[in-house]
Symmetry: C2
Amino acid sequence: MSKGRYHHGDLRSALLDAAEALVRERGTDNWSLREASARVGVSPSAAYHHFASRDTLVRALSERTLAWLGDRLRQDCERAPGRRTDPQQRLIAIGRGYVSWTVEDPAVARLVLRAGATGPDSSIAPHPHDVLAAEFDRLVEAGGLPAPARPGAEFVFWSAVHGLAVLLADGLVHIDGSRAVELQAERVARAVLNGLAQEKTPSTDRPTARSSHTERLARRSIPEIDEIH
Amino acid sequence: MSKGRYHHGDLRSALLDAAEALVRERGTDNWSLREASARVGVSPSAAYHHFASRDTLVRALSERTLAWLGDRLRQDCERAPGRRTDPQQRLIAIGRGYVSWTVEDPAVARLVLRAGATGPDSSIAPHPHDVLAAEFDRLVEAGGLPAPARPGAEFVFWSAVHGLAVLLADGLVHIDGSRAVELQAERVARAVLNGLAQEKTPSTDRPTARSSHTERLARRSIPEIDEIH
DNA sequence: TGCAGATCTCAACACTGTTCAGATTGGAGC
DNA sequence: GCTCCAATCTGAACAGTGTTGAGATCTGCA
């Protein structure tokens, strides 16, 4: 911290911390760059040496949180019951963790999940989408999902879990008690996994979805610079 | 319209129209109350005789659009193939319609789906949630879903479809072409319906979800007034 | 020690949502 | 037809916002 100093030390992450706290206190949108700067004890314009705009700050916070979430989901996997033998249990644990996070920290979750496509220079690791995809590969290997159903299956699962998460975070749906939330997440996850397992659609009729994350990896060569100064 | 007049005629819905157009032109958040007022040819403060705040305007637009959506989904049902005999096709049509709407009109869809719980005095009809619930009742009647799986099944389906919708609207996932989007919506819908149909969970372990809409109906007696003037 | 270059401050810009006293109007009752 | 009231809209103002640019201050390297 070192108060009173002209140079702050690590203003960038201090601003991210302040913004994160403000989001929790005042709500997803009800805070200002100026407030965050003031809280850190710095002038508003100082922030612009670390972020090109308020929106850039939000995206940076979003990416930081997304990496944290990826890590958390991976841990949830490893703590799942029967995690060695039953890859379905691991996926259900991911679904439960994803949804639980949004009800534990709804304001931040809204911020993150609304931020849209992740920036081209973002190196989120581990990215939640990658964690999910890896678990689906594992599921196919273990025979829990027919190989023809594998392509794009992650997006079906993700849709279902993400949907419940944002319905709860946005207050469109309400469920009392964190245990009940977990049970609903499990119900959703199980329904989708069972439904995918008995899929009959010929894979030619199947559209290809791309997450903004994998898309970024695919065209890493294109340098979209938006550096500061 | 009647330009030049001091009294506008129907300023309220004119403001809603202007706001809706601005959302589409400039994006979900990138417009101001003042712009909408100016576009209608009225002073900024005039809007405050019809809406308590900018947020109230947004919610009103959201509710208007939600009612429109409910109507559209109902129509999608009636146009579904085999709509008389196969209630599953009707539900798939709802899912397709819901998702298609968000990719056709993403900025407005974001506004609506983020607006959160609908206000206490809102009379959205037909409400999308009611349309969905009715179709699930029909599905049980026709034997497409075991009765024990019925309670809360709508929320599982809604989660899945809503999830795909917002992933696309927020740009977290990308699918090329409207036909491919429809196919993905169908895949999600089918997976959930099939998964629900073979559910084995004892219904005692099932949490009860409540939409903000049904919740409002339940406690209609409590008058939360936020009138103007 | 001196001196870039990164880092931060200060003052200002245009714009925002919101309020409130007062001008303007349409319509109900005489 | 007229009067008068309530609904409607204007104009000016307030505090607060994101953002910019010129200049002060500090750090680390020569």
